[in-house]
């Protein structure tokens, strides 16, 4: 077999119109000449779009946290951490393996003690985790952008505080960054250990039942009271309330949320009660991003009501028709037990059944973390984080440094600090900010660059094909294995009308595709369409009620989207790597959720 390689980082051609993109990201995120010797893959799971300058923090900080967790806290025997590079606005990553056997042995001893402590005290530590993460959320919510008036308030003087408010500009901005960093450390605190428990059970099942569907393992361990379902449940409650209060007529497919809200305001007491219920549900349950919390522009339901209001008409209609939309948790719990018991009974020996019980038990113990951490970290905390950064952007706009609040996201976080220092100095000296002349052309240029880079198709991987890919993090978190690499290599040999991925939710269905490159467009999807998107986010759950099937470039069978799709009984194929490139809106496609295959039956426009 000849040695095969993906394009080398140094061979990537410049994207026309995107010259100078490098300045958007820190120097340590750039490919180096020696990086040509290593295998990198595109982390399209977390970074399906071009990363704006500020959003570079959503790779910088998570990788400082996850690497510290595996390399320095728990001493994973075979892996250190993950290195990342950004090229043409896309994030590529590689794991740093520990290859020396003696070193592995030393690390193993430490690992057993450290990881053993966490597993042995899991429930107690997890309670502590929930308290810590809620405290962090309270902290980020308490961040205030100081007001810089003509004079500081008299109380600053009378209380003897001793420092003026421009100091707080830096301190509060730092708090945002520091809290974000801390949040990511807590995010990774249980992550690898939790996924480890899941993967060990998954591999056992695959060995004992080689033909078991990938989603079956998730079905045996999925929890019933899952935080990530709460936003959807709240919507259903609001829909029921609308029916009760005789407001159903206001919820019509395709309506603008602002107009619905205005109309509710004119419906007297009933309208007011519904609006109050909406406000109550919003905090915290509408703090779910339409993405996965890695881009500032993936707004939350709270920021933009399009998604919840796109789902409400259908719920209202169903409830008015007498359909019970509450999750049948009792039936789901019974089904979960039945499936687990049946597989258990199929095992050949008492020993295997005992091992099965251990692994399943451990898996169910860790699963509440796996299922819930995203809501707390990527959604609730991160929604608040970006809101605070936007508020600093508003201050910069108010002070004339930027043209608009959102322009702050075209500056790197260290550049934002510079701009804030400019404001602090100007306020202190009575002079004027100098940033307008400096930053506004940079923002304008970066907007053009982001647009130009959006047209680039990133190769799934770069560098030489590795002999063996067995890093536990890469495998557990990204699902990237030797087989994945082979699939990427074989892409061009595939039939161009077929897209293969993971069978995430069973069933076969045909429908018209709607390709959503930008997740903010999720509100545009129509009843019965097949959703094709880079990555499916848990907050899309409500929309799943109206579509026929879901197809994603990225994702595993235990992703929330997959779990939700199964609950809706809707076929889903995830992790195709390329559906959004190969399928076009309007194409007629067949989604085979049993086998993980999407077939383009007819191209858009071809009768």
């Amino acid at each position: 077999m000849t040695e095969r390689s993906f394009p080398l980082p140094s061979q990537l051609e410049a994207v026309p119109g995107a010259e100078g993109w490098e300045a958007m990201y820190p120097y340590f995120s750039r490919f180096q000449p020696e990086d040509d010797q290593r295998f990198w893959f595109y982390n399209s799971m977390h970074f399906p779009e071009v990363v704006p300058a500020f959003d570079g923090i959503t790779s910088e900080i998570p990788y400082t946290a996850i690497g510290a967790n595996t390399a320095r806290l728990f001493s994973f025997p075979t892996t250190m951490g993950i290195e990342y590079r950004i090229v043409n606005g896309r994030v590529y990553i590689t794991a740093n393996p520990v290859l020396d056997e003696a070193e592995q042995g030393r690390r193993l001893g430490e690992f057993q003690e450290r990881a053993g402590h966490y597993y042995a005290n899991w429930d107690r530590l997890y309670v502590g985790w929930q308290q810590r993460i809620e405290a962090l959320i309270a902290d980020i919510e308490s961040v205030e952008v100081p007001e810089l008036g003509e004079l500081d308030p008299i109380e600053v003087v009378t209380s003897g505080r001793g420092f003026a408010s421009n100091h707080l500009l830096r301190e509060e901005f730092h708090r945002c960054i520091d809290l974000y960093s801390k949040m990511w450390h807590h995010h990774t605190e249980f992550l690898m250990l939790g996924y480890g428990a899941y993967v060990v059970f998954f591999e056992f099942c695959k060995q004992a039942f080689p033909e078991m569907g990938d989603q079956m393992v998730a079905r045996m361990v999925a929890g019933m009271d899952v935080t990530m379902y709460r936003p959807d449940d709240e919507l259903k409650k609001l829909a029921a309330l609308a029916v009760d209060l005789d407001l159903a007529d206001l919820f019509v497919e395709g309506s603008d949320p602002a107009k619905v809200l205005a109309a509710l305001g004119e419906r007297g007491d009933a309208g007011a009660r519904w609006l109050a219920a909406l406000e109550a549900a919003k905090d915290p349950w509408f703090n779910v991003s339409v993405g996965d919390g890695f881009y500032h522009h993936h707004l939350s339901w709270a920021d933009d009501l399009t998604i919840p209001f796109a789902a409400l008409p259908r719920y209202v209609e169903q409830i008015a028709a007498g359909v019970d939309l509450t999750r049948p948790t009792e039936r789901l719990a019974e089904e979960r037990e039945r499936i687990a018991n049946e597989y258990r009974a199929l095992l050949g020996s008492d020993e295997e059944q005992a091992a099965f019980d251990q692994m399943l038990g451990l898996c169910r113990q860790v699963f509440p973390y796996i299922e819930s951490h995203k809501f707390y970290c990527e959604h609730w905390f991160t929604t608040r984080f970006f809101q605070k950064i936007r508020a600093f952007g508003q201050l910069l706009a108010d002070r004339g440094v930027l043209l608009a609040a959102d322009d702050v996201f075209h500056l790197r976080h260290v550049e934002v600090e510079d701009a804030l220092a400019d404001v602090m100095l100007a306020w202190a000296s009575g002079g004027a900010e100098l940033g307008a002349r400096h930053w506004q052309p940079i923002v304008a240029e970066r907007k053009r660059i982001v647009e130009a880079l959006a047209g680039w198709s990133p190769p799934p991987a770069l560098g030489p094909v590795p002999e063996a890919l067995n890093d536990p993090a890469v495998k557990m978190l990204w699902g990237v294995t030797d087989e994945t690499v082979q699939t990427w290599l074989g892409d061009d040999e595939d039939d161009e009308d077929t897209v293969k991925g993971y069978a995430a939710s069973p069933g076969i269905v045909e429908g018209v595709a709607r390709v959503l490159a930008n997740v903010n467009d999720i509100g545009s999807i129509r009843e019965g369409e097949v959703l094709v998107c880079p990555v499916t986010a848990p907050s899309w759950g409500p929309v799943f009620g109206k579509i026929a099937a879901a197809v994603s470039d990225i994702g595993g069978t235990m992703s929330h989207a997959a779990i939700v799709a199964r609950e809706y009984g809707m076929p889903a194929v995830v992790g195709t790597g390329q559906a959004t490139f190969r399928i076009r809106t309007g194409d007629r496609v067949r989604v085979d959720g049993d086998r993980g295959i999407v077939t383009i039956i007819a191209r858009e426009g071809s009768a």
């Binding site: 994973f76 025997p77 075979t78 592995q104 193993l108 690992f111 057993q112 990881a115 053993g116 597993y119 042995a120 250990l193 480890g196 428990a197 993967v199 060990v200 059970f201 591999e203 056992f204 060995q207 004992a208 039942f209 080689p210 033909e211 078991m212 569907g213 079956m216 499936i339 049946e342 597989y343 199929l346 095992l347 050949g348 020996s349 020993e351 295997e352 005992a354 091992a355 099965f356 019980d357 251990q358 692994m359 038990g361 451990l362 536990p472 069973p506 049993d594 086998r595």
Partner: protein, 356 residues
Amino acid sequence: MTTTRPVLRVADVGIEDVPSVGGKGASLGELMRAGIRVPEGFVVTTAAFRSAVSALDLGPRVTALDPADTAAVAAACADLRAVVESAPLPGAVVEAVTSAYGELCAGAGNERLPVAVRSSATSEDSADASFAGLQDTYLWVRGGDEVVEQVRRCWASLYSVESVTYRLRRNIPEEDLAMAVVVQRMVDSLSSGVMFTRSPLTGDRSVIAIDASWGLGSAVVSGDVTPDSFVVSKVTGEITKRTVATKTRWHQPDTGGQGVIESDVPGQLQDVPSISDAEIAELVAIARKVEAHYGSPQDIEWAVSRSAPVGENVLLLQSRPETVWAEKDRARVAAPTARAFDHVLNMLGGKRPSEG
């Protein structure tokens, strides 16, 4: 205790009757008792065999042969078969077979009811599987005389060159030789096939693998056609793999007379799935019942009747233990560890789960 009766109804026998009715006959009775839909029929017992064949005292002529001398064996076998097929039958045997057939016909309201005549071996050792393959099945047999004739041909198949050589090489005593014959109402199969209650490819016990094609099952068993194939999860009933093949050949009864005609499947049927999802679901239910009844993976032949009403049209023709993977099951997949999380520590430390 073996019976002395020459014929027993399938409905009246069970697994304890293997010495009298052979494995196939006993299994059918057993399944009928377990409430599984099996075509009715009767078994010509080993008692009948003894009075008709053992009485001919052919044993010494077999043991005198040298299995290496193929020409001599071939000549002797042709002779022996002719003897079995032409020697006058004991009246009691003929009478019992024709009257049991008559009863079957009367029950079905068809005086020339088509039946399948199949040998049913009594040996239970591991040679059984290969031995069974050497014996015969006659499909679409009609009329009492013809049934008696085919029963004799089954008996005579014990004197085929393959059978005789097999016994000689393994020193199987001729005195132990016995065979039962199952006579079963023929199913006018719209489609039929085989199924395994575990994956034939991976041994996975959580799935049922179904092969299906148009017409009689002999087309599938003989490999005359590439069948449709389905893999179904036992646990959820979901069809996890579905391969619809182009089915070019089918076996159909010669409606005008005896036996089976092999021909091309009409074009419009070739690429159409030969069983519906509802029929698959029913097969799965049958497979699970049979497997639970025997407590081990099964290899099952089945058919979907053309004439029986929906709900009663899926029938089991025979079931036997699956043997290929049974051996491999002994390889242990995993063992419990001192603490549950040791499984994870082992994996992340670079060990596979089976290394404990």
